[in-house]
């Protein structure tokens, strides 16, 4: 008799599962349609609630009337807790929109304001520029006893890439797609295979247990990575999503996507064991996915949250996947530069699979 091949059995399951996934409307809607719709909608809305983030150089004279006027302006958000080095980097990325440095002069005019803008954020730089002009007009006309102006502006602009909203929203949408496919898809499939005795029938064949799990996981992985590739391509060609190192960046993103999906599938395995029937899957899955969907920087940067909320988002695995995705995609980081994020994802991997192994049921 021909020797029995677990590998072939695994592939047979993967093939069957893949066919089943692409014929299941919910899988296609959640993994492809929703993320694309969100991308289209948000890419057209753009950023919301304008504030201009302005870095304040350490050498700034914080008692100068120029600084006080800026501090009083509502649209300006002054950042004082970054080092000069950090600030320079943030500026190039467009994470802050400008850096100011107000210096007191011994000669006339008494104050000089050095402003550095960034090409990465020209729009907001423009807002700041007009704001500064109006402040200077006021200050200088107030000092009417002195013929010379109180302060002068010296401007420079640093080189940087333009950070578009698509660069923020697309990695978030990828994360969302992986999260829902991993959690909902896996939980539903394994629960229904168990309840309809498909798995039991499999056990009457020579197939090994690990082949069943591996085959299912393989199918979902292939499906989700093809989906991710599709989303990246649409984002890149239709909305100008930035891929710094081209194909290398795409590959790095897909590696991250695979790691993320494997972790999210762990949640799915655990849920399929906990849920008693199919109607119990959505509530439990939502408890897992909704907080991550909202708090992991899918739609807005987590820095916009109050501190206590940030503390929660700093625990969630999707936060780190999104973070790593954005670093890789926009900043062109290699996988070795996101080891911090990968490490935390690794901890999640161990945690969730420890739970999944405990709760998973075969019949």
């Amino acid at each position: 008799m021909k020797k029995y091949s677990n590998f072939n059995a695994t592939l047979a399951i993967a093939r069957a599962s893949f066919r089943s996934i692409i014929r299941s409307p919910s899988a296609v809607v959640f993994s492809l349609a929703f993320p694309l719709i969100f991308i289209v909608v948000f890419a057209n809305i753009g950023g919301s609630g304008v504030t201009v983030d302005v870095g304040v150089a350490k050498t700034t004279d914080t008692l100068s009337p120029v600084y006080l006027a800026l501090k009083g302006a509502k649209v300006v958000h002054l950042i004082t807790d970054q080092s000069a080095d950090e600030m320079a980097k943030s500026l190039a990325k467009g994470n802050i929109d400008a850096i100011i440095d107000v210096q007191k002069n011994n000669a006339m005019p008494p104050y000089t304001l050095h402003v550095q803008y960034t090409e990465a954020s020209q729009q907001k730089g423009g807002i700041l520029k007009s704001l500064l002009q109006s402040i200077f007009f006021q200050i200088n006309s107030r000092g009417n006893t002195i013929p010379q102006p109180v302060a002068e502006i010296k401007e420079t602009t640093v080189k940087g890439r333009e950070y578009k909203y698509i660069d923020f929203i697309l990695p978030g949408m990828l994360g969302f797609s992986l999260l829902s496919s991993g959690v909902f898809g896996t939980a539903f499939v394994f629960l229904s295979l168990r309840l309809t005795l498909v798995i039991k029938r499999f056990f009457a064949t020579p197939v090994k247990k690990y082949s069943i799990v591996l085959g299912e996981a393989l199918a979902r992985l292939v499906f989700s990575l093809l989906g991710a590739l599709f989303i990246i391509m649409v984002g890149h060609y239709a909305f100008g999503f930035t891929l710094i190192h081209g194909i290398v960046t795409v590959i790095n993103m897909l590696v991250l996507a695979a790691l993320g999906l494997i972790i999210f599938m762990g949640f799915g395995f655990a849920i399929s064991g906990i849920a008693k029937n199919e109607s119990a899957v959505p509530p439990i899955s939502n408890i897992i996915t909704m907080p991550q969907f909202l708090l992991s920087g899918t739609f807005f940067a987590t820095t916009a949250f109050p501190n206590w909320l940030q503390a929660i988002s700093k625990v969630l695995p999707l936060t780190y996947l999104n973070d790593a995705m954005r670093k890789v995609a926009f900043e062109g980081a290699g996988l070795n530069e996101v080891t911090h994020q990968l490490l935390i994802l690794g901890v999640w991997f161990i945690l969730i699979y420890a739970v999944a192994v405990k709760t998973f049921k075969w019949e």
Binding site: Y4, A12, I13, A16, V198, R201, F202, A204, P206
Partner: protein
């Protein structure tokens, strides 16, 4: 018929916690026969079957299937048996020929889906989904999946439950064909007319014990010899004969 045992069960016991589902049963199934396990619900039929099918662990006892010991050679047993579970479903969203391909992969066997579907007269449903089949078609498809690995023995757990008389007869014919091709068949059923018609030998199971094993004819003769008589005079035909006579033997695709 040469009475060569292909399945031997000795003192099989199965406890679920405090509940004793199977309390030390022994029987043999002979090669090439249709063997019926009969008994009321909860008698332990399905449990016994699933233990022989390697799907459930026994508490104690000895079982050999086609010369393989259930404890040490479970994987060899899986290769030589075909199993139809009571009310089992199939992988969602796949059509019949894709499902057959999946099982070919699981058994590590290369067979064309059409060849298998032909055996159960379902070639015209090759592209249909399992859930869209009629009751009789579902059962015949289930039987097709048990035949993929050319098994020595197949196990059918209540295959005719819920079928109309025509579909039931059609399935009996199929099961006899399988037996005639040399495969041993172990079947459970609640229908005594079916057991009488189909089974070469039957075992009655009740309360976790086997309370009798013999051919259906012998059981009936024994009972009659003991002076038993039906309350109602037996006529030469029954209502099912009327039904078949009026609606025809032709099996309808539902």
């Amino acid at each position: 018929m040469a009475e060569k045992p292909i399945i031997t069960v000795k003192n099989l016991v199965k406890n679920y916690g405090d509940f004793n589902a199977v309390k030390g049963i022994s029987f043999e199934v002979y090669e090439g026969e249709i063997f019926g396990l009969l008994g009321p619900n909860g008698a332990g039929k399905t449990t016994t079957l699933e233990i022989i099918e390697t799907l459930r662990d026994k508490t104690s006892g000895e079982i050999t299937v086609d010369g393989f010991n259930i404890e040490t050679d479970a994987n060899d047993i899986k290769q030589v048996i075909g199993v139809q579970l009571q009310s089992a479903g199939y992988y969602p969203n796949l059509n019949l020929s894709e499902l057959i391909k999946l099982f070919c992969g699981l058994y590590g066997i290369n067979k064309s889906p059409m060849e298998m579907l032909e055996k159960v007269a379902l070639t015209d449903k090759a592209k249909a989904k399992y859930k869209d089949l009629s009751g009789g078609q579902k059962q015949r498809f289930s039987i097709a999946t048990t035949l993929i690995n050319n098994p020595r023995i197949i196990f059918l757990d209540e295959p005719t439950t819920g079928l109309d008389p025509q579909a039931r007869r059609n399935l009996w014919d199929l099961i006899r064909e399988i037996r005639d091709a040399g495969t041993t068949v172990v079947i459970t059923t609640h229908y005594m007319d079916e057991a009488e018609e189909l089974c070469d030998r039957v075992a009655f199971v009740d309360g976790g014990h086997i309370i009798g094993i013999d051919t259906p004819n012998h059981f009936i003769d024994e009972l009659v010899a003991s002076g038993f008589e039906r309350k109602k005079q037996v006529k030469l035909a029954n209502l099912e004969d009327v039904f078949i006579n009026m609606t025809g033997k032709e099996w309808r695709e539902g």
